[in-house]
Symmetry: C2
Subunit: 349 residues, 2 copies
């Protein structure tokens, strides 16, 4: 057993451009387990855009939050025996000691800090890491956001920003399967051609180099029914006037402003578009549908087995690369050793 | 029978400050009725904030839109005999000839151009004009917006802008009856004291002279669950950060920008508040619940009979005053002869 653990902390609250300098690796001794506690070793740590938001509101010295697929390596809790695999909210740390019966509040729901791996993984040829991808927050958000919140219907048109991302690439595939016309925006031409040719989106554009209005005039001549927005800012503001009557905007992130928290983009009022077209804009965190996760996982794994949806993941080896991988994700960059166009990133702990 | 009719038209598209100069009275001969047609005489013409929006998008020479309570004065349609009272969408005109079987599309629903007066008026001591007030769009929007869209619950906190207005004064009373904590913002101190003392709002403020943030810190220490927004712009942007988790914003108007259509207020991105607090913002037109109007009217008239809600109306005599009354409504001004603090305005045709 290890006698110490490593974990990444925030050096300084980050409200503008993020660099690797904001992160610092620390080491501390591991104490003996108390009754009921377990020790986990991280197998995969998910690198998530939401971390950008956390570090804007965290104090210096705070550990970086996040999810892991972890293995119990020592246990004084019979419900969580040694060898068991879990999804745990233990952040960017290689080892952790935790009371696995603890809960945390997420979106008004008390959820366990440590969950067993989705049982749907058992008979599917999916990697364990997909507990944080297709069968985790990205997949659940995509599925429940489309079906429950947006109430997507065949024949409707959806626009997705961050369309090649961790969540976006699942949203687009699900929407296609549901018979929607799928339009993806991404910040890179290679990713745009990937989602068009591999994921079979109807349209894909690089919003950094292409004229968004022109793109929408061509790709959405009858308007946009659903806007899956992970970016916000100017891009969102350009897309909003193209919404159809009763259009739904699902706001899952705000990447445009995460790097500019104290001076968010100033836009002209969009109230009028919302008002006149009776749009509904909803900030969405999938915990509001926590009671439906099990059914959603069943549906997702069925779609995977029927080859209707294919999750993409990229695994980087090395706990020490976490800040670099995260900063690259934020900047939409690939590292040289990345397999191109693979959106979900996990760093082996 | 009259041989001519008078009606108001728009002199020029109005995208900035509205004045009476934008309106012009016209007169034209009334032709003989064709089979199936009726001639109506306006008894009450409703003066509505939404007209501000119409005239920003209408061409010069277009008649001013709006609703009337009208009496059939001549008829070649046995379903609409002489003497019958109707609510008709015939705008600012004293007489009109119309085929009463015609429909218009409102919010995706085909609705008749001419409707018989709500039958709930029969046994209630309400004036006929309340077919356009408590039992018309303002009352229906208030009732169905609170119950169906916002799903207001006892103990929640609601903020209402334009809180002493045609719709706002009904929203506030209904919300109080439903057990909500009611906070009203209005642009005039007299109206603020009226809604506080007469309508029994929990809190009332003049947003033009009082500090909105300070007001909300005092009146909504636990946050705002429902924000009934008729104003938009800076005021809305100041209120949004005070919303509670899962807060609902019902956007029924955008008065702040109607006078400034080509240069709407520029605000910093509010996406983050929406995203983090999982707010839902909905542009709302009550036609989406058209199938529920009858039940809503039953509920409203019951509340009126039980003295749980009291509609206020003001009637100005004189078709010639329409532009003046409208401009004053837009500027939140009383005319000298107004009975103070009476929000719904009808001009006798």
């Amino acid at each position: 057993m290890p006698c110490s653990r490593k974990f990444w902390v925030l050096k300084d609250t980050c409200r503008d451009e993020v660099t690797t300098d904001y992160f610092e690796e620390e080491e501390e001794d591991l104490e003996d387990l108390r009754k009921g506690e377990i020790m986990c070793r991280a197998l995969f740590i998910s690198v998530d855009p939401i971390t950008r938001l956390h570090i804007a509101y965290s104090d210096p010295g705070q550990p970086i939050l996040g999810r892991q697929v972890a293995r119990v390596v020592e246990s004084r809790n019979t419900d969580f025996p040694k060898g068991k695999l879990l999804v745990v909210a233990m952040g960017w740390s290689n080892y952790s000691i935790v009371d696995p019966t603890m809960t945390q509040e997420m979106g008004g729901v008390e959820v366990p800090l440590c969950e067993t791996l989705p049982r749907q993984l058992e008979n599917a040829s999916l990697p364990k890491s997909s507990a944080m991808g297709l069968l985790g927050i990205p997949g659940l958000t995509a599925y429940l956001g489309l079906t429950e919140l947006a109430k997507a219907e065949e024949g409707e048109t959806i626009v997705i920003t961050s369309a090649a991302g961790q969540m976006g690439h699942l949203v687009g595939q699900l929407a296609r399967h549901m018979g929607l016309r799928v339009i993806g925006f991404t910040g890179c031409s290679d990713k745009a051609s990937w989602i068009k040719t591999e994921l079979m989106y109807d349209w894909a554009f690089n919003y950094k180099t292409q004229d968004v209005k022109q793109a929408l005039n061509i790709a959405a001549p009858n308007g946009v029914d659903i806007f899956w927005d992970a970016v916000g800012g100017d891009l969102a503001n350009t897309i909003l006037p193209y919404m159809s009557y009763y259009g739904r905007v699902i706001m899952v992130g705000n990447l445009a402003n995460y790097g500019n928290m104290d001076n968010p983009v100033s836009i002209s009022m969009i109230d009028l578009a919302i008002h006149l077209k009776e749009l509904t804009i909803t900030g969405f965190n999938v915990y509001r549908y926590y009671h439906m996760w099990e059914d959603a996982r069943e549906a997702l794994v069925k779609l995977f087995k029927e080859e209707k949806i294919k999750p993409y993941e990229h695994v980087v080896e090395g706990f020490e690369f976490l800040p670099e991988v995260f900063v690259n994700q934020m900047n939409g960059k690939y590292q040289e050793n990345y397999i191109q166009n693979i959106p979900s990133i996990f760093v082996v702990g």
